[in-house]
């Protein structure tokens, strides 16, 4: 469970080379997070679901939920040597709650050698420890702390998604308070069957709860948000195109209500993005 749900964080590690959702804006460079990021990284809750051995269960973000619903990539081979660089984006400040990994792989030709054999089960990485040590400066983060990357030549097509019981998952997620997860499943069900009463009901319920949650975090809509990150530094933040668009509307004069009005996005999404920007300390209020 995500730390958002109120449960204590569990020290679980992902299976090596398992399903990894790569957010679009992830830096490919090695990133050393600040203290806040490490703290947030500690909150990571990546658990192995014993009943679904191939899936990473991470419910705090849509990306992570997407990861849950697709089959994993096969185990990756070990790529020794200096060509391999990787970082744990989960340690980055912005989306520290996302149990996502990122690899920066030098895919240059290695002389036409045969792809290395896939390892059996490499030792699982310990993210918390590595993050803490990275911040402490005690040791550099190196490849031994992370799951090995997959070389290009070893990639194989992803198998078909496993059978998912949407109804069950949706109800489960609502029961544990993961409204955004439940909403995503409800939306997907409605795509397939627009008249699905149960999905409609869950969708409306989840939307209402989420709007309430975001409203509580954002406070009065009359407040005027301002950007506190210099323009030239924005590109190093872990945000996406939609968040950048939202930032485009923050001019130090417009109220939250105006910004929500002009964003052209659905209210829920606009509020979610603003809440995240607030949490990431990209914006604050006057």
């Amino acid at each position: 469970m995500s730390s958002d749900s109120g449960n204590p964080p569990q020290k679980k590690t992902p299976a090596p080379g398992r399903a990894v959702a790569l957010p679009p804006q992830r830096s490919r460079a090695f990133t050393i997070p600040d203290d806040g990021a490490v703290e947030e990284a500690r909150q990571l809750s990546i658990s192995m679901d014993s009943s679904k051995p191939d899936a990473l269960v991470a419910r705090s973000t849509p990306q992570a939920r997407a990861a849950e619903l697709v089959a994993p990539r096969p185990a990756a081979p070990v790529m020794p040597g200096p060509k391999v660089h990787y970082s744990a984006s989960a340690l980055e400040l912005a989306d520290a709650r996302e149990p996502e990994l990122e690899f920066d792989i030098d895919l240059s030709d290695d002389g036409g050698s045969e792809p290395p054999e896939r390892p059996t089960e490499p030792a699982p990485p310990n993210y918390e420890a590595s993050a803490q040590r990275a911040v402490d400066g005690t040791i550099p983060i190196d490849g031994s702390l992370l799951a090995p990357p997959i070389p290009a030549e070893a990639r194989i097509p992803m198998p078909a998604p496993r059978e998912v019981n949407f109804a069950e998952d949706m109800s489960d997620l609502v029961a544990v308070g993961d409204y955004s997860g439940a909403l995503e499943i409800a939306d997907r069900r409605l795509e397939q069957n627009p008249g699905d009463d149960e999905a409609l009901q869950v969708r409306d319920q989840c939307r209402a709860v989420l709007i309430q949650m975001y409203s509580a975090r954002l406070g009065s809509l009359d407040r005027v948000p301002v950007i506190i990150v210099p323009q030239e530094q924005l590109r190093w933040m872990s945000i996406d195109q939609r968040a950048a668009f939202m930032l485009h509307h923050i001019d130090g004069v417009s109220t939250l209500e105006m910004i929500l009005d002009v964003s052209g996005m659905p209210l829920l999404e606009a509020m979610r993005i603003l809440t995240e920007l607030l949490q990431q300390r990209v914006v604050t209020f006057r």
Partner: protein, 607 residues
């Protein structure tokens, strides 16, 4: 003396001004800007938004954002300009019940004067906020080429907005008024007005007795500063495509940011030689990789991108001077109007064409509104006298056999005026003639605007060409056109008075006025609630901050505990009133909260 505001109701931006202590001043809006985009939108939540806020979502909510409504105002559904707008606008334009034009926003139809009224109402509110009192009268400017229907539609828009439009004046006239204000000029001036969406050139004579006469006017209603923005956007999109093979035009959010950045860069390049366009996270690539746009645009590149547009304006100037039978040397002063005229290349082109430096004594964004406010003040001040002498923007005449347009009053004729011509019958034994009164500049009747029609009957049966009918056109000082047809043999006559119409009935206008007033009342109520809510919330926060200290101080006293309970009750009730948006209750609780806060402060201060 009653306050009269001057409003420049522009195609892309509007501006409001007033004369204060004898000097005209532009009134800034709440954001501090002196111009307000002439844009209206309805959001997904059904909220009506006007001005900058509407502009900022113009691309992402393109179907429900109206821009350049001025191009449609007072036009008939079947006019070529409307057809052009239907083909090029992102919002839906449909035919109205009186062959007029309607705009559909979120499934609701609005007439064009209604849309313009929303902009005028915004300008009215800006002025009222500034003055702290209601404003009722206004002088509104229109392009010199506007016909009577367009002028009437603009007046109707003012009425719907709750304004008594005491005079409609031509934009170049207003610019010249502001330019000549207090200078007692006697000159022939050219007003080069390069606006956001339109270009106009007008030649005026300013007489020493305060008479302003428009000698000639011409323009292009689809040429403006936004075309230059579009060139910058093209340049950015093309560069990005070359670099990343991604077409930014496919993404509305990216396009909205590009549009804003292009406009900003264009404005900046009037002051600096180069500017950086930095749009991080503009789009994601197909591989879900965040892409950033960062490019430097220099003034030279901008000039190259817009060179042909500037050249087009110069060509129109040339044609206008020829039409007016004037030489360049006859123009003694050139007045620049429109923000884009700050662009050095434009100033250079104008200077080169007219062989003189354009005047820089007036602010190009504000000059028209300032002129309107000067005229407004003159109209209500008996001491001031200023005569505005305007001309007919288009020729007036009748349709003759073969669908030709026979001109009686040429374009640019000073009003009041009257002209007469004699016509004959076109068929043998013709006993009646139909007089179709038209306005326009084309020889083909169907390309001109039909103003009205009437039939003269009782003609003598005779071979064609023998019965003579005298047709007289008369335009009075108020711009009302009268047409009379007289059978010269029998002296039988028939006449018509052409009354301009916006395409709306009186009932429709009344209903729209009520609707607009309702909207304004809602807005004012919401603003009043906001003011009191903020005050109440501030007091609640202060009281809650003091609670622990006061509780500690009065802990031993029963009387004190009672006071604490009462204070809690007031705070709770105030919070509830805020939550249910009950203005009266919030107002009422503000008093109680103030008393409580004073009491708490007193208790804390005494210890």
């Amino acid at each position: 003396m009653e306050k009269v505001i001057g409003i420049d109701l522009g195609t892309t931006n509007s501006c409001v001004a007033i004369v204060e202590n004898g000097s005209p001043v532009v009134i800034p809006n709440r954001g501090g800007y002196k111009t307000t985009p002439s844009m209206v939108a309805v959001t997904e939540a059904g909220k009506r938004i006007v001005g900058h806020i509407a502009k900022r979502q113009a691309i992402t909510n393109a179907e429900n954002t109206v821009y350049a409504a001025k191009r449609l105002i007072g036009r008939k559904w079947n006019s070529p300009q409307v057809k052009n707008s239907v083909a090029t606008s992102s919002y839906r334009i449909v035919e109205g019940p009186h062959a007029d034009v309607r705009i559909v926003l979120r499934e609701k139809e609005y007439s064009v004067p209604e849309i313009s009224a929303m902009i005028l109402q915004e300008m009215k509110v800006i002025a009222e906020d500034y003055l702290g009192e209601p404003v009722k009268k206004a002088v509104v400017t229109v392009p010199a080429y506007f016909n009577d229907n367009q002028r009437q539609a603009t007046k109707d828009a003012g009425e719907i907005a709750g304004l008594d439009v005491i005079r409609i004046i031509n934009e170049p006239t207003a610019a010249a008024l502001a330019y000549g204000f207090g200078r007692n000029l006697e000159k022939t001036v050219a007003v080069y007005d390069f606006g956001g969406g339109t270009f106009d050139i007008s030649i005026l004579e300013i007489a020493q007795n305060g008479v302003f006469k428009v000698i000639a006017t011409a323009g292009d209603t689809f040429l403006g500063g936004e075309d230059i923005d579009a060139r910058v956007i093209d340049w950015l999109v093309q560069g990005f495509k070359t670099e990343h093979n991604v077409d930014l035009r496919q993404d509305r959010m990216a396009l909205q940011r590009l549009k804003d950045a292009a406009e900003k860069a264009k404005c900046e390049l009037s002051a600096v030689r180069e500017t950086e366009i930095n749009l991080p996270f503009i789009i994601s690539s197909g591989r879900n990789e965040a892409l950033h746009l960062q490019r430097t645009l220099d003034r030279k590149t901008l000039e190259e991108l817009s060179a042909d547009l500037v050249e087009r304006t110069v060509e129109i100037c040339k044609q206008t001077l020829e039409d007016a039978k004037l030489e360049k040397k006859d123009v003694e002063e050139v007045i620049l109007v429109g923000g884009i005229t700050r662009m050095p290349k434009i100033q250079e082109a104008v200077a080169q064409f007219f062989d003189r430096e354009p005047g820089k004594g007036v602010h190009p964004d504000e000059v028209v509104a300032l002129g309107a406010s000067i005229q407004g003040a003159a109209l209500v001040d008996d001491k001031q006298e200023m005569i505005l002498l305007d001309v007919t923007p288009h020729a007036l005449g009748i349709m003759t056999f073969g669908n030709f347009f026979e001109e009686l009053i040429p374009a640019n004729t000073t009003v009041p005026t009257h002209r007469t011509k004699v016509f004959t019958t076109s068929r043998d034994n013709q006993t009646a003639v139909k007089i179709l009164v038209m306005q326009g500049d084309s020889e083909k009747a169907e390309e001109n605007e039909l103003l009205g029609e009437f039939i003269l009957t009782g003609l003598r049966r005779a071979p064609k060409g023998t019965v003579e009918v005298e047709v007289t056109f008369e335009i009075n000082a108020d711009g009302i056109v009268s047409v009379r047809a007289k059978d010269l043999e029998t002296s039988l006559e028939q006449s018509i008075q052409v009354t301009a119409t916006s395409g709306l009935t009186r009932d429709e206008i009344s209903s729209m006025i009520q609707n607009a007033q309702g909207q304004l009342l809602d807005r004012r109520a919401s603003e009043e609630f906001e003011t009191h809510r903020q005050e109440a919330e501030k007091l609640v926060a202060e009281i809650e901050r003091l609670f622990p200290q006061v509780e500690q101080i009065v802990a031993t006293s029963d009387f004190g505990r009672d006071a604490i309970d009462k204070a809690r009750s007031i705070v709770d009730r105030a919070k509830q009133a805020i939550a249910r948006k009950d203005l009266d209750a919030v107002k009422e609780h503000v008093e109680g909260l103030s008393r409580t806060q004073r009491m708490f402060k007193g208790v804390v201060a005494r210890t």
